[in-house]
Each structure stands twice: as structure tokens, then as C-alpha cells.
Symmetry: C2
Subunit: 255 residues, 2 copies
């Protein structure tokens, strides 16, 4: 066999949708299975492939792509033939933690997918690991067919990337929500903050975040920090205090 | 007098540079003063105006724009004639906290300015407050000459906007730094995270951050949260735990 020429997919969530549509232009997608029948059929229609009603019904393919929640990867693996090559898409699950040790790999896209929002797969980095070098190379080639940004990474690296991704995506988004909450309580338009958010991010193109840091904590302006804390309560107040402390600690030695 | 036709500036930092250059196309900038002589002369040259060596040397103008650090606003005000109309640019300082109560206003640009990076002033929101309605209107018109996004806002609103700005700009940037630190320790390329950061922000155009939230804490995946905490230490671990707790609290009642 030379490379991965056909895929079946288990799962019909955001990852399955986005990867399915990206790979559909490069390899043959034979079928998709998901316990959510409606999502499964929607995805099968999009990919112009067979909507299986069980794992057993899925057509045999060069690769079975598991786009399922972390905690059921092992469960699904039990239902698959040992000879079936499988790749999962999770950042958090270590390869060595799984119930199988052959014909298993990882193809981890470092991106947050939403169903209704197009993502440019060409700019998504993929991290590859597998139980053997041939599968690793073939998963690399598969990912490389849709993105120039493909890297071999072991489970520990992948887990660290996942933590970093949680911080820059999930936690950043939560800060956005808390800020929106502050503006909403004062009946101020949250959209006023968007140019500032865009500027914060666009600086990253030219300046490492450690150098780009500004604000009350960066200039050790405890008066403003305390005035801000007095306006806040609950988790938001705790977060303001802790992040300010962390910024103070980051710059205490090299001002 | 009809509107602000001329400005002198005190300060030669990032705010003075960016506002000076923006207003220079709309009104006459007569002079600039800063105790930092080198920065003062650089700015005066850019604005093609007089570099004063003292506040007393500054040419009289319709408005004196104070682009100085929060804690010296009051100090500078003492040196100015009562009849001189003054506006400062700080989000944090309340109008009522100052030593003068007439001919004083605020023109607060909600943006983070860096010296070497162009900012599109047209997209910067300005928040206006003043000791009298005429000055408020004239500051509004001045800001409106460079940005369509000008809003009257009292000191309390402005302070809340400033807190929100700290959260979406300073704290977000610090999360970026902590994430970069994680990748650096594993010798992974920090740039892999940039597409994810861009996606996080671009979602805001269509989806409120509360709805866009994803990640381990959002799906109450305590196993992944604990695995991530085990990888971290110090402030980063505390921040991971607190932000996860805050996300859990945000979504506990309306899953």
C-alpha cells in the first residue's frame, strides 16, 4: 500500500466536519458513522459518502479517523479490527494510554473548529505521532496534503501544545466574556473593545508577547490595580488580582 | 471661539506620538513639551512644531493635551493657567479627583499604542467627558475629526472601560506570554499557536464570547483539567485553575 487513499470517519462533530471536508478533496471518504443519526447524515451528505448506522457497517478504508470525545476513544477502539489503521485527533490523550499499541496514530489539528464558521485548513498546524514509522509518515503526508504546517510531535509535546492552546484560546475567550460582562453592566457597547483586541493580537506578528506587555501591572502601578480591584467582585476580581500578580512576578527581575 | 483650532501637547510617549500625528492633520499643533528632551524633539520634528524646554515656553493654544502618566496629571495642572483649557487622556483618573474643576476634560482613546507600530486612528473609540458642555462638545468634535467612534462617557464608565481593556489587552497578552513559555520549554515553535489565536478573535465578529466558549472547563472535563494542572506549576498553574473554575461557574446554571 502506498499512502492513505481512503478514509472512514467515526464522529460527526466540528472536527469531523472540518477535517472531513478538507480531506474529501484529497482522498476518498468512504463512510461516516456517528450515534447522532441526524448529524451523521448531514455530514455524509456533505462528504457525498455512506452514512453507516453502526461501526460494523462502515466501509473498510486505509484509515479510520476517530473524531470523538477523548473519553470514548478507548471504548471505540475495542470495536475495531486490529488490522484497521486508526488515527485519533485529540491533543490530550497519550498514545501509550490506549488499549491498542499497533496501527494507531494521532493527527492533532491545533485549531478550534465551529460548525458554522469556515476555517482555512491551509493555516492549521497538524501534529503527528503513530505506533510505527510508516503510519506516522502516511499520516504526515495526509495532513500535508491540506496544510504546509505539519510536525511530528510525541504525546508529551502534544499535551503541552494542548495546554498552551487552552490558555490562548479558551482562557482568552473567557477574559473576553468577563470584559463584555463589565461593559454590559454599564450599558456600554462591548464592540468598543474589538479594535483593542485586534491590536493586541496583531502585535504578535512583530513583537514577542513578553516585550509587548503594557498596563498597570507592567508599570507596577498599584494605585490603578487597587482602584480596579475595588470595582470588581467574585471570580473576575480574583482573576484580576492573580493575573496582575503574575505580571508583576514576570517582570520583577528585568525591568 | 468656535471649536478647537490649535493644540499644544505635554508628553512625548506613545499616546502623545499617535494622537499628535492624528490631530496634526486636522488642527494646528503649536508646540510640545516633555522633560525627556530627546523624545520631545523627535515628536516636535514629526509634528513640525516647537519643542518647548518648559511648560511656560509652550505656545498658548485652544487646548493643552496632557499625554502624561496618571500620577502626574495633578502635578502638571498646578503649573497651568486656570484659563487654559486642558484635556487628559487617561482611562483611570476621575474628573472629580483633580485639583481643578473648570476648563478640564478627558479625551480617552481606547487603544494600546506602541511607538513603532502604526495604529489606524479611524478605528479607535474615543470617550469624552468635560467640566462643561461646551468643552465636552468641542473635545467630541476634535476626536470625531479623526474617528467616527466617539462617545460621551462619565468617569465611572471610563474606569470600567479601562478595567475591561486591561482584561482583553494586558491579561490576554500575558496569557500569550505564558503559553509561549510553555512551548519554549518544550522547544516547540510558538508560532503554531497564532492561527488559533486569530481564530479565537475572528469568532468575535459573529459570536458573543459567552457562546463561543469551548475547551475542557466548558465541557466540564475534569480529567483533562487535572492532567493539564499536573504539567504546570507556579503562577501558570494557579491561573489555569482559577480560569477553569471561573468557566465552570459561568456555565453551571445554563448548560
Amino acid at each position: 500500500m502506498e499512502g492513505i487513499k481512503s478514509i472512514s470517519i467515526i464522529g460527526s462533530g466540528n472536527v469531523a466536519h472540518h477535517l472531513g471536508r478538507a480531506f474529501n478533496e484529497k482522498v476518498k471518504i468512504n463512510g461516516v458513522y456517528s450515534p447522532n443519526i441526524e448529524n451523521c447524515e448531514t455530514l455524509a451528505q456533505k462528504l457525498n459518502c455512506f452514512a453507516a448506522r453502526s461501526i460494523a457497517e462502515l466501509p473498510v478504508s486505509d484509515l479510520l479517523l476517530l473524531c470523538v470525545k477523548d473519553d470514548i476513544i478507548n471504548l471505540v477502539l475495542k470495536d475495531l479490527a486490529d488490522s484497521q489503521r486508526v488515527a485519533y485527533t485529540s491533543g490530550a490523550i497519550e498514545l501509550s494510554s490506549l488499549s491498542r499499541s499497533d496501527n494507531i496514530g494521532v493527527l492533532y489539528p491545533l485549531q478550534s473548529f465551529s460548525k458554522d464558521k469556515e476555517v482555512d485548513i491551509f493555516h492549521v498546524p497538524f501534529f503527528i505521532e503513530a505506533s510505527d514509522n510508516l503510519l506516522a509518515q502516511e499520516l504526515f503526508d495526509l495532513a500535508y496534503s491540506v496544510s504546509p504546517n505539519v510536525v511530528f510531535a510525541n504525546s508529551e509535546d502534544r499535551k503541552n501544545l494542548h495546554v498552551a492552546a487552552v490558555m490562548v484560546n479558551n482562557f482568552t475567550n473567557h477574559l473576553f466574556h468577563l470584559a463584555q460582562d463589565i461593559t454590559a453592566r454599564k450599558k456600554l457597547d462591548w464592540k468598543h473593545l474589538l479594535p483593542l483586541i485586534n491590536e493586541t493580537v496583531s502585535k504578535l506578528d512583530t513583537t514577542p508577547p513578553k516585550e509587548a506587555q503594557t498596563g498597570p501591572a507592567r508599570r507596577r502601578d498599584t494605585e490603578t490595580i487597587n482602584a480596579h480591584l475595588a470595582l470588581l467582585d467574585g471570580d473576575t476580581k480574583e482573576i484580576y488580582a492573580l493575573l496582575s500578580k503574575s505580571i508583576l512576578n514576570t517582570y520583577k527581575t528585568n525591568d
